[in-house]
Structures are given as C-alpha cells and as structure tokens.
C-alpha cells in the first residue's frame, strides 16, 4: 500500500495513533539483545497467549519494544499507560502480571524494581533511579514503539520530518536547520554535521551517496547498534532527508553481519519503507528517488574508520586512506559521500520535526542534544542510557548507573572502549562533551563507558585495551603495526613483575610516537589509554615495576590471597566460589587458602561479605601480615 502524498502519510499515521488510543493497556516486552538473551522472545508469546486466555486480545495488545535500557535486569517489561516496569520476569510472572495487574489492577510487587515478598518496590519506570536524569531524543520510542513495525513508528510522528523536508523545505533550508541546531557527529571527533552536508551538497558529481556507519566495533560501546535496533526507521528517514539535502540517490547502512538483530531489523524496515513508497521512485508523490541498501560488514574494528568503511563497501580490504580529500567530496567510488554515525543520523528527524531551537535547548551549548551511552563494568546498573550532553560523568556513574558495588570505590572510567583514555575518579566532574573529554585525554565516540572499581588493576586494563587494538590493527602503517605489539609486550612484562628499568619511559615514548605518526585514528587513539594512565595512575605502574606488587590484587603473578582468621566467620561463601577448590575449612571455622592450587582469580575475595579475604599488594595487606604472625 503505497503512500502517494503527504495526506496519505498523515491519514495513515492518524490511523495508527487511533488504533493505540482506544486500548485499555499495552504490554511492551523488551526485544533488545540483552533481554532476548534472557529469554524475552518466549515471554512475548506467553503474554499473547495469557491475554488471549482472558479474552483481552482486543483491548490489551502485546508488542515487542526496542531495548528499554535496563538490560542488566532483563527480561524487562513495560505496562502502559501507567508506565509500570517489571524486571527479571519469568514464566510464572507472565500469568501473575496478566491476572493480578492487567485484570486485577494491582502491580505484582515480586517483579517490580526493588520489590519482593516484603518490599513494595518501585512501580513506575520514571521513578526508578536508573531512569532519572535521562533525556530521550533518539531513544524516545523505547517502550512505546515496536522496532519491527513501520506503523508504530508513524504513530510516533515518524516520517513526518521526511514529509516536511520534501514538501516545505528546500535543500538549503534543510542544511540551515541542521546548522542552526548545532548537531555534531556522534561517532568520532564531533565534526559539525552541517559542514559535511554543505560540502557534499556543493561537491560536483554525477551521483552522490549517503552512508550510515553502524560498525560499532569497540567492545563495550554499542550505542549505535542499540539505536539502529530500536528505531531503524528513524535512521532510514534521516538518510532520506540527508539525501534530499545533498542530492544523493542511493544510501548504504553498514552493519556488521554478526549483529543479527540489527541486520534483521534494518532489512525488515527497508522492506516496509519500500512497500509504503517511502523509499524507491517518486517518494510521497514528489519527484524524489532514493533507496538504501544494507551492507553486511565484516567484523574488524578498523571498518568503523570512515575511509576504511568506504573501502569495505567497495569490496576491498578495509584499509584507511588519506583523508586529505574529504569523503564528502570524494568518497564511495570517488563520488561525493555523506557519511555519518547512526546516532548522528537518528538526531536528524527530531530536529527537522521540532526545529533547531528545540534541539538547542537540550544539552550543552557547544554540542547540543543528548548522547546514548552503554555503561558497563563494575557498577550496579548496566544497560543503555541517554543523557543530555554536558552531564558530568559523576552524575551518570552515581545516578543511572547506581555507583559501585557495596563497599567498593570507583577508581576510573574508560569512555569510548579500548581507544579511550582512563579518567580517574577525581576528574569525574568532567562533562560529557567533546572538548572536555578530549582535555581529559579521552573521547566521546560510540558510547562506551566502562567503570572500574578499586579491585581493577589499571595496568591490566590498559594491557587488555592494547591487546585489542593490536589485534585490530590493519597493518598499513608501521608505527601502529610495530608499536602496538611492542607496547603489549612491555605491558605484559609489567603485569608479570618482570619490568626492567626504563620500561615505563620506553612505553611512554612509543605511545607518543603512535599518537604523532600513525596513519589513521586507530593508532592515534590507541595511545590514549597508555598516556592517560601513565599520567594519572603512574603509582600503579611503579608498584608493579619496582615493588613487584599489584595494588588491586589482580595480576596473578604478583598476587597472593590470604584469609584473615579473625574476620572469617566460616560461612563458606568463598569455598563455594572458588573454581579451583583451593579454599579449605570447616563450617563456622576460619577458612584458609592453599596457595599451591590457587588460580588467583579473586572469586573468594568477591564472594566474601566480611572483607576477610586480602590480596597481597593491596594497601591493607601489610597490616594483615602482622596480624597473621
């Protein structure tokens, strides 16, 4: 059913809105990767069946939703219109929620956040600490939009921005709106989006392309993929608007092929958009032709770099090219190409729809809007959050993320995955914006935010970052190809307590060489974690190198675990936790660790509720040794 005009579009959207309006309640089952892995697909069916059994299929539709953000507590379910959020729902929960809440009108405390047999818990999504302080622009559809349904996107005003851009705006006006909004790229170093648009529009060429970068190759950073999985149609709409502005007729969405969910949703969305005539020839009855192809990319971190990504779409090895000539002038097959990150794209429709002034009212003035982040590591709440730019990192870490685990302290934060610098705790006041993060030696990038507590070894963290970068190096330039393995070897020897004099200085020198001389951003950014940690956590390096101890009690060669007999209550938690069976002791009596079989994993220390397990090397240990004597 093709939409042939703006009126068609509006009446179709109205019909979808009408359909939702008349319902008693809507159950949204999270269909994000996290919740699917926790079994939410089965729950969706169970809910449908349970609702049908009550004869409520008409009044209470059950739909899938994009990631609701609270992935660590999955499967997550939202009941509207009240906005009640259920966490960790299981099969038994389905019938209880349907019977007690949908029919009976009383939320089931057992599955509420913080709820249980005795606790009432928090019912409303907006009142859960995790959701406070968040501001949704690109994830606005979460909970109320089915990512696999174009109608549900249209009910939320989807494609109206494209309608507006095609009917009421000239290409210049569109670019002006982007310029006024101050939108900056979310994928890299924060290029001003309008500059790319303008230069691509000005560039001469027989054909032009628009490209969406959803490589999201950095471990722990999957903001782009989440956006694409949650609202593929927003990205399609944005690319059509971009194509209209610069004069392109073909677009490419580059997604890694192993991101099954994202690939599937994009393909489905593309097919739906074509069916509705929102892609293809003569879109909405205008003379505008545009189509998009989903490119199934290979997994290589370097593919995210814009020139390498272009090479990969062209069917060549993903090696970066010099970006002296911008891709906006000479990109895919030498044609002018407008390439942006998914999240950047997803910001375009709301800007066109609501105006630049509205967009500027959110976030920091130098870089308005929001940023989607995927916090991970040693915090209580893991998942996906969207916060206004400029928000201090501390507010994110202690707000939505819930701070460190019980008894732990935050030590550092690594923004942007392994290529990001480490920001120490005392600098957590740093605002979430390009300039301030860069000053702190980090980057904004694709949304990673890994938090480390006092039981994380900084040197080991940096080692694993460099290991990743060194595996992903494309081998084109020698500083990166030779430098990364050298850095890795040095870091490894430091972690093992085999460092020699001068190693730290040598490490620093290689890092600077990488930063100065690497061909592309991979090598340049690989220096970030090394340089920032050498600056802020030098004492940890020195402890490893000179004192042969790991202050966090992580590096196996430098660590020994000991149980303080005075503190140990003999509860046996550590004995159960130990994978090697190295903890011995009778119940209710002090336990001890057999050093010969201990694998130094630290599971006992994490399990202990009495803080009775100590690692050698940590500050508390010497006192401990005294005690033991």
């Amino acid at each position: 059913m093709k939409l042939l005009s703006l009126q068609d579009l509006e009446s179709r959207a109205e019909a979808s809105r009408e359909w939702i309006r008349g319902r008693k309640a809507v159950i949204s089952v999270c269909m994000g990767s996290g919740c699917i892995s926790a079994g939410s697909e089965a729950l969706l069916d169970l809910f449908r069946r349970a609702i049908a059994d009550e004869g409520l299929s008409e009044q209470v539709p059950v739909m899938g939703s994009g990631c609701l953000g609270f992935c660590g507590k999955g499967p997550v379910i939202l009941v509207r219109p009240e906005g009640v959020l259920y966490c960790g729902v299981d099969e038994a929960g389905v019938s209880r929620i349907v019977k007690e809440h949908i029919v009976g009108g009383k939320p089931v405390a057992k599955y509420l956040y913080g709820g249980g047999a005795k606790d009432a818990g928090i019912a409303l999504m907006d009142e859960i600490p995790f959701y406070k302080g968040q501001k949704l622009l690109v994830l606005a559809g979460r909970g109320c939009m089915d990512p696999e349904s174009i109608d549900s996107y249209m009910a939320a005003d989807g494609y109206s921005a494209l309608g507006k851009a095609l009917s009421a705006m000239s290409p210049d006006l569109i670019i002006d709106a982007i310029k006024e909004s101050g939108l900056r790229g979310r994928g890299g170093r924060g290029f001003h989006a309008w500059m790319k648009w303008e230069s691509c529009r000005m560039a001469a060429g027989p054909e032009k392309f628009v490209v969406c970068n959803c490589d999201d190759g950095a471990p722990g950073a999957y903001a782009g993929r989440t956006v694409l999985e949650n609202s593929p149609h927003a990205v399609i709409e944005a690319m059509a608007i971009g194509a209209r502005a610069v004069g392109a007729s073909m677009g490419f969405i580059y997604v890694r092929t192993e991101y099954d969910l994202a690939v599937g949703r994009v393909e489905k969305a593309l097919a739906q958009a074509r069916e509705y005539g929102l892609l293809g020839r003569g879109i909405l009855g205008t003379g505008f032709d545009f189509d998009i192809r989903a490119v199934h990319g290979e997994s290589a971190f370097i593919c995210g770099e814009s020139t390498a990504l272009i090479a990969s779409i062209e069917g060549r090895p993903a090696e970066p090219r010099h970006d002296q000539v911008h891709s906006s002038e000479k990109g895919l097959w030498g044609r002018p190409t407008l390439l942006s990150n998914v999240e950047t794209w997803a910001n375009v429709p709301p800007i066109i729809r609501n105006g630049a002034a509205w967009f500027r009212s959110v976030g920091s003035p130098s870089c308005p809007g929001t940023k989607v982040l995927t916090p991970g590591g040693r915090i209580r709440n893991l998942g996906v959050v969207e916060v206004p730019t400029g928000t201090p990192l501390s507010e994110i870490v202690f707000g939505p993320c819930g701070g460190p685990g019980p008894g732990r302290r935050i030590k550092a934060v690594q923004a942007c995955g392994p290529a990001g610098g480490l920001i120490p705790e005392r600098m957590l006041g740093t605002g979430l914006a390009y300039e301030s993060l860069e000053e702190a030696g980090a980057m904004m990038c694709t949304g990673g935010l890994i938090v480390f507590d006092d039981r994380t070894c900084i040197v080991e963290t940096v080692r694993s970052s460099i290991e990743f970068m060194s595996e992903e190096c494309c081998g084109k330039c020698s500083p990166c190809r030779e430098g990364l393995p050298r850095m890795l070897a040095l870091l490894e020897s430091i972690c093992r307590g085999r460092a020699r004099a001068g190693d730290l200085e040598f490490l620093e020198e290689i890092a600077w060489t990488l930063k100065d001389a690497s061909f592309c951003g991979l090598g340049k950014s690989a220096a970030n974690p090394v340089l920032s940690s050498l600056k802020c956590f030098r004492d940890e390096y020195v402890a490893h190198a000179d004192e042969k101890r790991c202050p966090a009690g992580v590096c196996p060669e430098l660590t020994r675990f000991v149980i303080d007999p005075e503190k140990c209550s003999g509860c046996g938690l550590c004995r159960k936790a130990c994978p090697a069976g190295a903890v011995a002791g009778a119940p209710k009596e002090a336990h001890s660790i057999k050093e010969e079989i201990c694998v130094k994993c630290g599971a006992c220390r994490d399990a202990c509720r009495k803080e009775a397990v100590f690692a050698s090397g940590t500050a508390a240990f010497p006192v401990q040794r005294q005690l033991l004597r």
Binding site: S37, C71, G376, G448, S465
Partner: protein, 168 residues
C-alpha cells in the same frame, strides 16, 4: 562426502543472487562460508572467475578479514566474550574452564570436529555479563553449569544431524 554437484549449484546461486557484482564480494564470501563452514580453494577460484577479478584480490579479502577461514572448522562455534564488560565479570574464568573441559586451545577445534573455541570482544550484552555465544545464540549471565548444558545439547544435536542429514 556431500553431493558436489549440488554444492556447486548453490555457490553458483549465491554468486548469481549478487548479480556477479564485484563490490559485493565480502557478502558473497560470507554466504559461502556460512554454507560450507569455510572457504575452499575451489570456491575462491570460482568466485574470482565469476566476478572477473584476479584470484589475488579474492584471496586478499579472504585473508584480511579475520572471520574468514581457509580450512574446515568445527560444526559449532563457542565464543567467550572477553570484552571489558565481561572481563570485569569473570569472562576469563569461563574461558579457562572451557579450555580445560573441551581440551582445546583458543582458536582451535575439538578433536570430534564439533566445536571451535573462540573469543569475541563484546557482543553488546555487557548488561548481562559474563556472556558466551554458543552457535550464534547468546547465553548471558552464565554460570559454568549452564554453559556445559548448552554445549552438551549442541553436541547431541550435532550428532543427530550427522547421523540423519537434515533435508531441506
């Protein structure tokens, strides 16, 4: 082993579906590998012929991207996530125990050709770390027993399939 005619037929099909466009070579190789488990010399030569590009270029692609393999691998792949999120939650312990249990190195294939053990860097599921991807399916928030169970189920399925090849 298998019907080579049929096999040739389907690689040809993949090539035809991509209209012999050389820029789609990466997707073509992905599909061939998905079907056959690896990229055989025969298929690389065929691809180069059909797309009318030098074999060296096909080989270049097949060796640049790490996911392509030129030798046969096991039936299922187990990927232990060693992304920062999972490492912080004990991903390495899981990997160590799998290595011991399956008697296989990382990157290796078990002697019964059933499993490849690999690591993967973040599957976007850190919220439920630690994570193992068993034959494409994410098993999250894992304890070791759960993984072993998943593995045994796969092994059983694999054996059944070999005994009775699925007809499609």
């Amino acid at each position: 082993m298998q019907d080579t005619l049929l096999e040739k037929h389907s690689v040809e099909e993949i090539l035809a579906r991509h209209m012999y466009e050389d820029f789609e070579i990466i997707e073509i190789l992905q599909e061939i590998q998905r079907m056959e488990g690896y990229l055989s010399e025969k298929n690389l030569v065929l691809t180069s012929k059909r797309l009318r590009i030098p074999l060296s270029r096909v080989y270049g692609i097949a060796t640049f991207y790490k996911n392509f393999t030129l030798v046969p691998r096991g039936k299922y792949t187990l990927q232990v996530c060693t992304g920062a999120g999972c490492l912080a939650k004990g991903g390495m312990k899981i990997l160590d125990r799998l290595r011991n249990t399956l008697q296989v190195k990382v990157g290796g294939t078990t002697s019964d050709r059933m499993f490849n053990l690999e690591t993967v860097r973040c599957v976007g599921c850190c919220g439920r770390a630690p994570v193992v991807v068993a034959a494409g399916k994410i098993v999250s928030g894992v304890d070791f027993g759960e993984i072993l169970e998943a593995i045994e189920n796969l092994r059983k399925r694999g054996r059944d399939e070999i005994a009775q090849p699925a007809r499609s």
